[in-house]
């Protein structure tokens, strides 16, 4: 029941923001548009298997809007758009929002939905900034209107699998469990390349669908392959389910478990310290990061919403803030002006100094490797893990295959 009051309170605030956003479309048309509020569309999976991430992300966007207050003399407002975590509704609803005048979008948690939304928004001369992971988003499918804050799958593997191979030279057999869509494929391809380079044996992989909840069958496959390391390449509740079931099968005692792309604090809260102890987690964000913006955000969210920002919240906060800062810098809220302001932007971000690479619209930032700690070693209720390493790993825009039109 933790944080439920805080969640409810913050939800109500976010709801008020969203509601105000919903009444805007009419105002945005025609001559009165400039006087109306500045609407940021937040296309997120508010329902479906990834709704927990979507709901926190929605709070993060609302928090950024509330903090900004007004930009260019216009009150900032967030319009929540429920993508259901699926590409088709995501594309349709973003089109509708654009039809009503929204041009700036911050959201898209799943790679599959982010890819289609980026294309739709670009077609309409808007800007879409996302936290989704597939390399393609700022790689082979990059485009003028799409930006990405998170480290893509290549960097996530480089910052988790590489240091762990170095740390555990005796662990020669790795098994992977992969969701079969663009994000999982990206992580798997990157992991295979590292295995090959380092002479590590990839003893097997189990693919599963994006709707899967039951992992016992895949875990039985993994056990049969007798690996030293189990590498989970899924995300959100799927990675929580896979990890929970792996621990119940006693795998923590038999092998090292690594979750390449964890969803951060919310995942630790859902699983509990006992389950996470000794497990390695790759992370885009951790509330303990020592940067001025992060310290300020954590203090402010703890004070006002009585919760600690998690990855979904923080990522969404950061990308919404980036859009608002860019609009302020550009002195205009139209797509081309905001794109220009974002390209090459260096700023003090949640993970320290961050930079938006102009060639492919990828933010250059740190990725973190965490290790779950014992309940008895936790200093406070959020202190689930130690950051054991961090760093930046990115393909060059050319290697990622980005040809910006």
């Amino acid at each position: 029941m933790r944080d439920r009051r805080a969640f409810l309170k913050t939800s109500l605030t976010a709801g008020a923001f969203a509601a105000s956003g919903l009444t805007l479309p009419g105002l945005l048309r025609g001559a009165r548009a400039a006087e109306g509020p500045l609407v940021i569309g937040a296309p997120l999976p508010i329902s479906g298997a990834f709704a927990a991430n979507g709901k926190y992300a929605s709070l993060g966007a609302a928090f950024a809007a509330q903090e900004a207050g007004s930009v260019l003399g216009r009150k900032v407002s967030i319009a929540d758009i429920d993508t259901e975590g699926k590409p088709a509704p995501a594309a349709r609803k973003v089109q509708e929002a654009m039809g009503q005048g929204t041009r700036l979008f911050a959201g898209g948690i799943l790679s599959s939905e982010a890819l289609v939304m980026g294309k739709e928004v670009t077609k309409g001369d808007g800007v879409f900034i996302t936290t989704a992971g597939a390399d393609e988003i700022t790689g082979s499918d990059c485009n003028r209107g799409t930006f990405r804050w998170t480290v893509p799958t290549f960097g996530a593997i480089a910052q988790t699998v590489r240091p762990l191979i170095a740390q555990m030279p005796q662990a020669k057999r790795w098994y992977t469990i992969t969701p079969q869509y663009v994000f999982g494929e990206g992580l798997l391809t990157a992991a295979k390349a590292v295995f090959q380079e380092k002479g590590v044996e990839h003893v097997g992989n189990s693919y599963h669908s994006l709707a899967e909840k039951e992992f016992s069958g895949y875990l039985t496959n993994a056990i049969a392959a007798k690996p030293d390391v189990l590498l989970l390449l899924n995300f959100g509740s799927q990675s929580s389910d896979a990890l929970r079931q792996a621990v119940s099968f006693g795998l923590k005692k038999r092998m090292t478990i690594v979750l390449a792309w964890a969803s951060g604090l919310e995942q630790f809260e859902a699983l509990g310290a006992d389950l996470c102890e000794g497990v390695y987690f790759g992370a885009q964000y951790w509330h303990g990061i020592d940067s001025p913006l992060n310290k300020a955000l954590v203090a402010k969210v703890r004070e006002t919403a009585k919760m600690t920002p998690n990855y979904s919240f923080a990522g969404s906060y950061q990308i919404t803030r980036l859009l608002l800062d860019a609009a302020a810098k550009a002195g205009a809220a139209d797509g081309p002006a905001v794109i220009k302001a974002l390209e090459g932007l260096r700023y003090s971000g949640l993970t320290g100094e961050e930079e938006i690479r102009a060639a492919d619209h990828q933010v250059i930032k740190d990725y973190y490797l965490l290790k779950g700690k014992a309940k008895s070693a936790m200093k406070d209720k959020d202190d689930f893990a130690d950051v054991i390493q961090s760093g930046k790993s990115f393909l060059s825009p050319e290697a990622a295959g980005c040809k910006m039109a």
Binding site: D3, R4, K213, N221
Partner: protein, 284 residues
């Protein structure tokens, strides 16, 4: 050897699926009522167990208590709301129960938050059974055994007791039962509470395996419908056979063709609908 373990694993899954589906099947079979809120009762059972364990109750107390509370809530809902739509077409059943499911789901989010949580298996069953190179969680073994006993008890209750006969007669001919002096309203309430209570129990038993999260009811509802459709609407034996079939197929597919593990379930259902529209054990 891997296949053998996938079958064992599938058996465990199948028993859980049976428990999930049998309540839905009973409610449809006896009340002719399509209950889309079934997954919500499963969700509620899981969360009440979570809350009980978080508050320091033993799992052995929290689990049956959760099922009883769910049965109580369901009985009350039947009396106050669902009874009013029995005589209306199925579309109204769907409308009301989908609405109910959404209300339960959003209430869970407001009370417990959107993240979900973990329920540790009871200490005595926290270990694993080791057979050569393979391992199987003791708690899952317990679920297989417990559900098997429960299945036998349920069959006995509905098929071999006077109470079961009254319930079945009530569904066949409510007017005659009323003429004989039986309170058919009370029978309906009891049947609905039993069906929903079984979903609550399935949720409670699943919590240590799956954890709890606010959207678990939607997935459970899907599986329950697949099992009921394959087994035959209202058929008790059908729910058991189909539950096991789906569980074992899903588990075996994880080795044979992992990408298709879920696909095969729905393809199987489509095949059964085409070849045997009433399902494996459906009544004419």
């Amino acid at each position: 050897m891997t296949y053998l373990f996938q079958i064992l694993n599938g058996l465990g899954l199948g028993m859980l699926y049976f428990l999930l589906a049998v309540g839905l099947s009973i409610i449809f079979g006896l009340l002719q009522f399509v209950n889309f809120a079934h997954g919500a009762f499963y969700l509620l059972g899981a969360y009440l167990t979570y809350e009980g364990v978080e508050r320091g109750l033993s799992f052995w107390v929290a689990m049956p208590l959760a099922a009883l509370v769910v049965a109580g809530v369901a009985g009350l809902t039947e009396r106050l709301l669902l009874r009013r739509v029995y005589k209306l077409p199925h579309t109204f059943h769907i409308l009301v129960t989908v609405g109910l499911a959404l209300v339960v789901q959003e209430t869970v989010i407001i009370v417990w938050g959107p993240i979900g949580g973990n329920v540790a298996p009871p200490e005595a069953l926290g270990g694993v059974m080791i057979l050569g190179d393979f391992v199987y969680p003791e708690y899952r073994l317990f679920v297989i055994g417990f559900t098997a006993i429960l299945a036998a008890g349920l069959w006995w209750l509905l098929d071999r007791t006077r109470l079961g006969a009254i319930v079945r007669a009530g569904s066949e001919s409510p007017a005659n039962m009323a003429l004989l002096g039986y309170d058919t309203h009370a029978i309906n309430t009891a049947v609905f509470a039993l069906g929903a209570g079984l979903a609550g129990l399935a949720g409670a038993l699943a919590a240590p395996i799956r954890g709890v999260e606010p959207f678990m009811g939607v997935e459970a509802l899907g599986i329950a419908f697949v099992v009921v459709v394959i087994g035959g609407m209202g058929s008790y034996a059908g729910a058991l056979a189909a539950g096991l079939l789906v569980g074992i197929a899903q588990s075996l597919m994880a080795t044979l063709w992992p990408e298709g593990a879920r696909l095969v379930i729905y393809l199987g259902m489509a095949g059964i609908i085409m070849a045997m529209p009433r399902g494996l054990f459906g009544r004419a």
